[in-house]
């Protein structure tokens, strides 16, 4: 009996080892782990593929890049990158093997950069769909459309805080929760949206800012009012730090990029998509228009979306619930209590609502439902067939959308009221 059981175990163990066991062992240091993949339109071939990886050198600044790496380009911090023109992504990997001594491994490729030129040409579907099939590609990889060339982005990306590229990219993908000026879209998100019948895909925009919009000298700012979110990607008037920036959203019609949203519009997009967490907002002071009031705005509840269908098309009622604190009142007017408090709240609600309406109209006119309204609308259909026959993406153009913003002021910062600054008699 014992003999039988033993031989049974031996046989099962052998069979399972031979037939079932994992067979793709790789010595951990025998491969090179790609951290960033960049895709451009090629010159000598269809795709221009750039991969960035750790050069496995302990000390920053050691070693130079291989082909494609300009001086200091990505190599200074122990990272290196290679670029190649290839007929397909996968062939490109093997062609790169001619210059890289180790096997390229994509299991830790957390970021995929696609050039704007490629995105606008509408051949992204040719690339994304085969890519997602490959088992080493993470579906949780962050996708960015980059203004300019993906290769330049990789070259210019030099994290100044810490020297870990992967960590800085991972944390950058969490920034939407802190600022709302960018959005986090993974490969999986994009691919699902690409196939979906209830909306259009979007992608975050990355850019290389060469600080040309930062003017050191010139006539100084007067009393004009401009919101921070109105800038376009690669145009932020900043200087210093890393050259790369994540700002705004690329809007797609299927796999063709058709429009881009500014950082401010991105916030409103997040609100409608129920992805908004928080952000500092600035509005014009209702009583003293040449001054501003800054507020910390947070999401309060999930937005309420009600959809009804009439013969002209869908009617969408969306209410966005926000809450927040007062951060600064430059005019020192006592907005902290009613009746002025409700004036302030109404002003903010109106400000957000106007911007949101403008954004929705802009997208609606192009028939791009990037707000996830389709997901809510689909719930009103009994079967998938019915839903698919409705052709939401076509009908969205005719949708009537009523927006409402509900803001409630929670706190007044660390001050209950602003006391006036005493002036000398003569000054008054």
């Amino acid at each position: 009996m014992c003999k039988r059981i033993l031989s049974a175990i031996v046989i099962i163990a052998l069979f399972s080892a031979v037939l079932g066991g994992c067979q793709d062992a790789n010595e951990i240091d025998a491969v090179v782990r790609v951290l960033v993949i960049g895709i451009d339109k090629g010159v000598t071939d269809k795709w221009r593929l750039t991969v960035q990886f750790s050069s496995m050198k302990e000390t920053p600044g050691g070693g130079g890049g291989e082909e494609g790496g300009s001086t200091g380009g990505g190599t200074g911090n122990g990272y290196s990158h290679v670029t190649i023109d290839a007929p397909s992504f996968f062939e490109g990997i093997d062609m790169l093997g001619s210059s890289i001594s180790r096997k390229l491994f994509f299991t830790h490729a957390g970021t995929i950069i696609i050039s704007e030129r490629l995105a606008r040409e509408g051949i992204l579907g040719d690339f994304i769909a085969p890519l997602i099939r490959y088992k080493q590609i993470r579906e949780s990889a962050q996708l960015y459309v980059v203004k300019g060339e993906a290769m330049d982005f990789i070259v210019e990306n030099q994290p100044t805080i810490g020297n870990t590229l992967s960590k800085s990219l991972e944390l950058a993908a969490k920034q939407p929760d802190n600022t709302g000026y960018t959005i986090s879209v993974t490969l999986n998100d994009f691919y699902s949206a690409l196939k979906s019948t209830h909306g259009q895909p979007i992608m975050a925009i990355a850019a290389v800012n060469d600080f040309k919009n930062f003017k050191r000298d010139g006539p100084r700012w007067k009393n004009e009012f401009k919101k921070g979110g109105e800038y376009k990607p690669e145009d932020l008037p900043r200087h210093g730090e890393n050259k790369i920036e994540f700002w705004g959203t690329a809007v797609f019609n299927r796999d063709k990029m058709v429009d881009e949203l500014t950082g401010g519009e991105n916030r409103l997009l997040l609100m409608a998509r129920n992805e908004f967490k928080r952000g500092f907002f600035t509005i014009r002071d209702p009583k003293s228009p040449d001054r501003i009031i800054a507020m910390d705005v947070l999401k309060d509840k999930n937005p309420k979306i009600k959809i009804s269908f009439d013969e002209d098309g869908p009617v969408i009622d969306i209410t966005i619930f926000l809450k927040g604190d007062i951060l600064s009142i430059q005019s020192r007017i006592h907005y902290e209590e009613d009746p002025l408090l409700s004036t302030l709240v109404t002003a903010l609600e109106k400000d957000i609502k106007d911007d949101l309406d403008r954004l929705i109209n802009k997208c609606k006119n192009q028939g791009l439902d990037v707000f996830r309204f389709g997901e809510s609308a689909a719930k009103y259909f009994a079967t998938i067939e019915e839903w698919e026959k409705y052709y939401w993406n076509d009908k969205f153009k005719d949708a009537k959308i009523n927006t409402k913003v509900d803001f409630s002021m929670r706190r007044t910062g660390t001050r209950l009221r602003s006391s006036p600054i005493p002036r000398l008699k003569g000054e008054e």
């Binding site: 951990i28 782990r33 750790s54």
Partner: protein, 643 residues
Amino acid sequence: MAFLEFIKNLLTYKEPLQTGRFELHESPGENPQGADLNIPVESGNIPGDPAQGSSTAGDSTGEGSGDSKEATEDSQNNTSNQSEDKKAGIKKSPKSLGKWNKDRKQESSRTKDLPQDLPQHTPQGSSQNQNSPQTRGSSQTQKSDAVNKNLSKNLQRMQQDFNMPENADIVIRNIKAGASTDAFILYVDGMVDKVTINESILSPLMQTDQGTESNKEPSADHILESVLSVNDIQKSTSYTEIIQKVLEGVTALFVDGLDICFLIETQGFEKRNVEQPVTERTIFGPHEAFSESLATNITLIRRIIKNKDLITETLPIGRSNNLKCAIMYMKGIVNPGLVQETKRRIQSIDTDYILGGGELNQYIEDHNLSLLPQILSTERPDRTAPLIMDGRVAILYESSPNASIVPTNFFELIYSPDDFFIRWQYGTFVRAIRYMALMLSLFLPGIYLAITQYHAEAIPTELILAIEKSRENVPFGVIFEILLMEVSFELIREAGVRVPEMVGQTLGIVGALILGQSAVAANLVSPILVIIVAITGLGNFAMPNHHLAIGVRVLRFLFILLGALMGFYGITFGIIIVAGFAVHMKSFGVPFFVPIAPKTQSNLETFIRLPLWISTIRTDSINTLNRRSAGRIVRRWKGRRGE
């Protein structure tokens, strides 16, 4: 074709329902202790009951024991006995109460037919004719075993039996009792307390004024009642018993004209004091450990359980070295079947020499191939006593500072007496730590290997880059690294046991540190691996049961191998195989993974050290006679609702 047949047999294999193994069923009532030793607990054992064979072995000069082995094999193979085959299909545990009683009645009537003078579990029973290994199995000229009235014949016999001229430490002292009667005392030098012999035996015996009438005819009663001032004296007429007792440190007194011998308790040999436990240290609670003296060990238990129902039975183990062991249990709580089975197993062992608990455990455990211990071996009386109160049987040994407790289960091997001396919250926490330690020491190197070789995507990017960078200058594969470190760690540990105490600990720690550090510096291993091996080692040291810890050390290498060959799949596979074996195991008829598999009551206690006033039921799986260990409301001062 034969191979196909073999595969077919494998696939259609069914384990026979009746395995012939002992199973601990519920007992309807208490058995008269030790009265009918041969009542089998399970009907399957009746016809070829090894217990009968082995316990009659003493009479039939060795042949019987051979039979009993065969009988055991037969009943396990389940082939020979037709009666068994008939029952095999029907009998499945547990039986109904009525059926149990019926069977039992039948069995007891059958056992009554057997000769009633079966040797009881007293030393002379098994030592008959078996004292010297060279006589085993050979035909021996039968001498009379009865003590002779003639003193010189007794003297001659004793000198002969003890191989006197050669045997230097046997002392025979001739005296004249009461100035007229010839007598001699016999003892083993070193085993006796000389003060007792001088003052309480020799001195009163050699006084001349013994009373007038006794001078003429020595009377046994007179000597017993009026002369010898020793607390424990027995009369014996059997040479075999006398020899055995003398070897245990008793002084024998032969008097001319009496056909009895006085066995006077004079044990007094050198022994170690009660000291601190070595492997099972705790912070709170008593700091006493068992020692090599059986009497001391029993006393240590008796001091904790002061109850008349705490039964201590002594049994000899080892046919030739005649070491004593004591089984202790609570009458009225313990399942009588368990006591019988324990005694049956111990008595049936036919070997010349057993040294204490470590060896006996291997003779009586259920599964000899398993890597996990099935008997709880402890050196702490305060661990033994609660388990006796819970309804277990404890086996204590002469010459071995451990107690064996049967039955046990896997989870008890993780408990430490510490758990019960501290508040339940803390107890639960440290118990959780120990489970974590078990997991780490068992799986960590294997999982590290599997993850780095097969599933690198599961490691955060920064970490894997760090690992890769640290391995950049290491020329070997991860598996070689791990084996190198694990083997060196085992070497250090094994050497640490043997290194003299003065340098032992320092050497162990420093050795490990230096080895780890310089191995990294020499680019033999990566630093992260040193951490892995260190955590694994720590986890292993955190385990309270030494035997389990060794088993885990061995199993760890299995998981390293499986992880290297097959990744997570291999580790899962290994867990299934090991868990399958473990769940299949039994410790004295009780499933090893109780109360998880099979599920019984008081499941919570396995992971949470329940508050003492909540656990009022004894361990369910061992089917004690008395289930409740505390009142329904334990803290009566608090009342039911704490008012």
